[in-house]
């Protein structure tokens, strides 16, 4: 479904991502792991058009999507979340989720100014859908609370729910459990599994090995911007190169 074809990104003299290629199969949870500074987030930023790709191409279902900006990719069915939480704290929980439906909404200024009926009905319909999404993580009761009053763990989940609003075919999750406690991590892992049940493909960038090994269908390991290994979780756990790279940075799987 997603094909990364020998992409390279340089910052100054350093190659953050170096001639990297891999494929993501439809319906998979495809994890990308690697030590700190391996180029994982750079990769996500390249796929979503935040950084310009120096060399190489990225294909989605055969169509070239290299260097298309994030907002346009949403219309192609790709959505992402962020390593450092990006939630609009000035909005309520419900409004944040409603943002996810933005691409389906009528935002004609003239109609909005005069409170046109079509707009009100449109809004009502999406509110119901947003509440349904919230009920997936049991947040429908606090839908009208300001996001700034909620805990980090809840907001991390909210970010994923918001991405779902865009009805994507592919979601890129950039460290969705970073900074969460074990209980919250388990909840997010659970959420990701239910998302997959909806037949959404997931690219997961994560440090939490326990979770990665639990929920991934396929794993690509990168180190210093290059592909170190790929395979199923079992294959990765037993891969000598991977063990060496991780022991070097002090993480034990």
């Amino acid at each position: 479904m997603l094909k990364i074809n020998s992409v390279t990104k340089q910052f100054g003299g350093i190659k953050a991502v170096d001639d990297l290629s891999f494929r993501v199969k439809k319906g998979h949870i495809h994890s990308i792991i690697g030590p700190n500074g391996a180029g994982k987030t750079t990769l996500v930023n390249m796929i979503t058009g935040v950084y310009k790709v120096d060399h190489g191409t990225i294909f989605l279902d055969g169509a070239d999507i290299t260097n298309i900006t994030t907002d346009k990719l949403v219309y192609r069915g790709i959505c992402r979340t962020f390593q450092n939480l990006e939630i609009c704290e000035n909005l309520t929980v419900l409004e944040n989720v409603l943002l996810g439906f933005d691409k389906y909404m009528d935002k004609s200024i003239i109609k909005s100014c005069f409170r046109a009926k079509s707009i009100l009905e449109d809004e009502k319909r999406h509110k119901d859908r947003a509440l349904h999404l919230l009920s997936l993580i049991g947040l429908e009761k606090i839908a009208n609370q300001k996001a700034e009053n909620l805990s980090y763990g809840i907001l991390k989940k909210l970010e994923i729910i918001r991405a779902l609003g865009t009805s994507p075919e592919l979601i890129l999750l950039d460290e969705p459990v970073a900074g969460l406690n074990p209980k919250e991590t388990a909840e997010v892992a659970d959420l990701i599994k239910t998302v997959v049940a909806d037949e959404v493909t997931i690219v997961l960038v994560e440090h939490d090995m326990k979770m990665v090994m639990q929920i991934s269908d396929y794993i690509t390991v990168i180190n210093f911007g290059k592909k170190l290994a790929q395979g199923t979780p079992e294959e990765i756990v037993n891969n000598k190169d991977v063990i060496r790279a991780y022991l070097g940075s002090g993480v034990v799987c």
Binding site: C79, T81, C88, S112, F114, G165
Partner: protein
């Protein structure tokens, strides 16, 4: 509005209002177009102008944006001063009376009614706009541009739209003011006037429509009250701004909100 909902600050809006006013006045006086039609053309021209400059200017943020808008404003004001054949230079020019479909607005009462109707209408449209999905997009841009971008919102496009809308409103008010006072001079487009507008918004509280109106009322009444201390007018004016920025930076409207919240809390 430009400032509140997109988290931006413009120090050039006085100049936009002034230039818009001039265009309308020149069209109606020199080319004998009806005032309403002149304002209409002025609005279109200013909207196009705003759209053109919005692209490069809105790529800037914070101080840089403030300075760039300020620069545009000062250039407009110098232009109005310099082109005296067209604008009457620093002496300004007088304006014909205002009429809509042959009905002339002559005395103050008629003006009050017209402005009140317009104001109520504008507030109504704004509240609707802010409550709509469109308004939510603007708020989300203020909250987190990255988040807005990640759900498919073209942030710079929306910023441009807001900028254009705010310039259009400035143009309408600038034109009406010129027709009302029967006179227009480059002072309307000066840096100080732009700042006055910013202060109005901040005084009332950023991102609140009612805030801007409260601010406008205070800033308009204040000088009238202060005329008895004529010499001290500027001094007191500055002191009040400093006071408000230090002690209630969220603006006066936030005081009312606080009060409302406290009252509600008591009810519970």
């Amino acid at each position: 509005m430009f400032m509140g909902y997109a988290g931006q600050v413009s120090l050039g809006h006085g100049a936009f209002a002034g230039l818009g006013g001039y265009i309308a006045v020149i069209l109606s006086s020199n080319y004998e177009l009806s005032p309403l039609f002149s304002i209409f053309i002025s609005v279109i021209t200013m909207a196009i102008l705003a759209f053109i400059i919005s692209k490069p200017i809105l790529r800037l943020k914070g101080h840089y944006l403030a300075m760039a808008t300020l620069g545009v404003g000062v250039i407009i004001s110098i232009f109005l001063n310099a082109e005296d054949e067209l604008t009457g230079g620093s002496d300004g020019m007088s304006v014909d009376s205002f009429s809509i479909f042959g009905y002339e607005f002559t005395d103050n009462l008629q003006w009050y009614i017209l402005c009140a109707v317009l104001l109520v209408f504008t507030i109504w449209m704004f509240t609707n706009l802010v409550d709509s999905p469109f308004g939510r997009v603007l708020k989300s841009i203020q909250g987190s541009e990255k988040a807005a971008n990640s759900v498919g919102i073209n942030v710079s496009h929306y910023k441009s739209i807001v900028f254009v809308i705010s310039v259009v409103i400035a143009t309408i008010s600038g034109s009406l003011y010129a027709f009302f006072s029967g006179f227009i001079s480059p002072a309307e487009a000066s840096f100080s006037h732009s700042i006055e507008l910013v202060v109005m918004v901040v005084l009332g509280g950023l991102g609140r429509i009612y805030g801007a109106i409260i601010g406008a009322v205070i800033l308009t009444i204040l000088p009238q009250l202060l005329t008895s201390f004529e010499d001290y007018q500027t001094l007191i004016y500055g002191a009040i701004i400093i006071f408000i920025m230090i002690f209630m930076p969220k603006g006066i409207a936030s005081l009312f909100n606080d009060m409302k919240r406290r009252l509600l809390a008591k009810d519970k």
